[in-house]
Symmetry: D2
């Protein structure tokens, strides 16, 4: 089996001497050329490596060889790392090391929104000019306000109101729509309803949210109102993976902006939107390029 | 009575039409030249103005005239503003407006530290070259570690250990030292012990602290450890007034710095120190130049 | 003549004692309520004031009264200030002070582009949701690449190729199109051809450009290439008025982004686009809200 | 010969397949543990690698083995890279690869200043608390203004006035003082005289300067005055290596700060000092930890 030209190898597991040597040796002997390599060892002794390389390859054979004769890691402590969803061709080695081998390609996503357009507009423009590193399969919203915008770009818009539905009924309706598209990632581009653990479990480490504060400050609702009342001199935004604890998942990207006492909560909200949409775009670029590992509650970006 | 050439008039109270007109008229007729004027009206209708002007004046007569025939403000709602400590010559008008008139001059301060030198070093160097807008009367510490540094600059160092003392006994010992110097402001330049409400009450809105996080994120102890564990991409520092609720006083200045997963809590602490000392210096410059009003839990900076 | 509820009074001329007093007095006696007031005196003695107020008014009578009995400024030196284009109702006082009185309203603009979509996309999305403080009357381009994007938003797109035309012929064709729309401002949203002085003279201080460097660094073509070769650690963007000297007009807004040696010129260009579009939007917001004065080669923002 | 526990291996030369594999293999077989590894390949095909590792070693034997059987690089184009000064134990391989092996240790430096204290004060405080990663052997100045500050820290101060001397005579006097200390690096901490090519040649890539603008903007004298007159909204500072072309050497670190029209050139200078001293400190930390490669006019930071 031959696959496309550029590939990304992701490696995650207990550290031991010689791991880089082992992997670069396998690639060297197979005449595969490393374009970019980056590695990280956490303080608790977990090893992460992302290797971008090019050349023609047999994925199964390469993964098999990588797992063979790995250095012994039995005396290492492993921290509570979780890995991003495996592709079928990825297999875990006996050494405790997980290898994943992805062709470099665009991801398939569904975007969820409520009423605000700024993050969605940003994603649509990028998508229209092929700068998103993803295909937007559909947009789902609990309001129909943004339908005209989405339609301009020829993308299916699913208006699934929460009115007259229990939370479970609403989420089930969304899941049925998701089942049509089978997205690799779900992007919450200012989706303003809390998702239940049951919903999130369907997309482990595959939901990315933009929160309008520099988390962990101002968790929960109305962060700009909270920021105004607290009198902060800095506002911000945080893109993070969603897990069962609201606003508590691994942080992928953050940015901030100076404000002063003259900014009302509304002013902060207006100015904050510029930060939100850029932070979300930057985080998505990292995720869609397979640059984000998850280790406990931290995101490792290589 | 004649006073020095440059003056700062601070005005704080319920807004009403014509306040700027009234004040600028009084100054105009007295041949006093406005160098800089800045005003702010809060969403709840409170008016703040800082007027820097020059000329020879009779303080008492000026204040008396300012209070006379002020526009009526009886139909205004006043929010929970607190004002900075009055000087003897300052008097409250019948309109609910507080006027304070300060000559432009350096403030007297005492600095409190524990073991870390970076903020103290910054203040000492600025003081040595007359850039602090304040005179450091003394340094108080619960350790004697920084005594050699302070001595280089010829400033009294009071080592008041907390060992073997109750919290109250320790604070009383500090207060006895403060009584020697009667500082206008107390600067906590990384003083790492919590101060009781009883202590703080002695210096209402006159204690400035530097906290090593972008508050309200990571309130309490070990903020860089908390930041590491939460996996934030931004660390910061906050200079704020100290009131009875720890880390909850009005924020004067904040700044941040980008970090990534490679920063250990120790790295964050090292890099954060550069932010802390600059933020503290910037906040002190604002306070010592009479540019900070306090309104509830917010600092208004004019 | 009665006009809408909110107004902006702009004042520009030689400083003298009592100017604020005079103006606030006129407004006070006419029962006009100041919402926001900001003033600035340049080091060379020029006075700028922007007063936002509300109330019903007779514009001509107000302007007439403002000019009457102004403080004498005959002994003041005036620097080389230029003012933004006057509206018919604005008149210059005998004191050398220029008053302009604008109702608070949206501006009419034409946007010029070449091939890049990021700034245009940003403006279109904002316009579609009424966040631009302006109406985009038309888009003009020397390529037809962005026509599909503009059409999504129902805005006229004029493709005026420069192929086979002299520079003058090309600009004349553009001017004929401008004559249809009579825009108050022309926005160069990555228009990549130099405009002649003859063209610029048609829109004095009314053309805003976004340049992809933190001017004055990297004037001219290919600034990201220049930035890469110089090995800078910071890239940026600058929104400025266009005058006869390329890249030399008054700067309205700037922002920057950290880069490192791993960024190729192409990477810098990609990341810089996020800075460019936000900086341009911020500058336009200032200009369209009548917050920008021009003084020589400096923009005063009140 | 045994050397200390922590070591830094720097590698610089034409890229070829298998370089990482080769080096990590040598270290693996010698039981040396890689703590941190970072590599970079420039667009023109030059390979840079910094490997921090620990273990007991024989330097000469290790370097000898590293040079043996390196992958062939004969078909690679090499760009105009310059390397940092070699230590005696460092040798160039036949493959065109330069290896340097440094024990991890503090560097010896001489600091040069004129009249401003802020950068010097920053370095002295860091040095006093062992945070500079360097020993300050002496301070040299063309004024005696900062002698009292330096004396507080017990460091030799050499006052070498330029009065009554030709430029060459002055520089010769400085070089005689340098000869006493033989510093590895010379730090220009606001030394405000231009150094001749003759002087610079004595310390190739070993002089670090702090320039008070975000280079290449405002090259030359009075950058804050230039910044004021150009009306920029951002000021900054640049730490760079000094080569024969003034302000043109490789940039190590830069940072910026927002300003507005209210900042006079003096205000910019005052606020800029905070940026200057932090940027200089950050650049020195990188250089003193052997993290900076020079490639043409670019600094590669690993």
């Amino acid at each position: 089996m031959t696959v496309p030209d550029k590939h990304i190898l992701l490696m995650d597991g207990p550290d031991s001497k010689g791991l880089i040597y082992h992997v670069t040796g396998v690639l060297f002997r197979r005449n595969l050329n490393i374009i970019h390599n980056d590695e990280y060892v956490s303080p608790s002794g977990r090893f992460f490596m992302r290797t971008e390389f090019e050349g023609t390859l047999d994925s199964a054979a390469l993964l098999s060889e990588l797992q063979t004769e790995l250095p012994n890691s039995s005396d290492h402590t492993i921290d509570d790392a979780h890995v991003l969803p495996d592709k079928p061709e990825n297999v875990a080695g006996q050494s405790g090391i997980t290898f994943r081998l992805n062709p470099k390609r665009k991801k398939n996503i569904v975007v969820m929104v409520t009423k605000e357009h700024h993050c969605l507009g940003e994603l649509l423009i990028r998508y229209a000019f092929d700068e998103l590193d993803a295909d937007i399969l559909a947009v789902v919203s609990n309001y129909n306000l943004l339908q005209p915008l989405v339609s301009k770009f020829g993308i299916p818009f699913h208006y699934i109101s929460h009115e007259g539905k229990t939370r479970d009924e609403h989420e089930e309706a969304i899941l049925r729509t998701m089942a049509i598209y089978e997205p690799e990632y779900v992007v919450l581009a200012k989706y303003m309803r809390v998702l239940t653990a049951g919903f999130v479990d369907n997309f482990p480490n595959r939901i990315i949210n933009i929160h309008h504060s520099f988390l962990p400050a101002f968790v929960g609702a109305n962060p700009y109102r909270q920021a105004y009342e607290r009198g902060v001199k800095i506002i911000g935004a945080t893109a993070h993976f969603v897990n069962n604890d609201l606003d508590e998942g691994p942080i992928i990207a953050q940015n901030v902006k100076e404000v002063d006492h003259r900014h009302t909560a509304t002013d902060m909200s207006t100015e904050g939107k510029d930060v939100e949409k850029i932070v979300l775009s930057q985080a998505l670029k990292l995720v869609f390029n397979d640059r984000v590992f998850i280790s406990g509650n931290r995101a490792i970006i290589l």
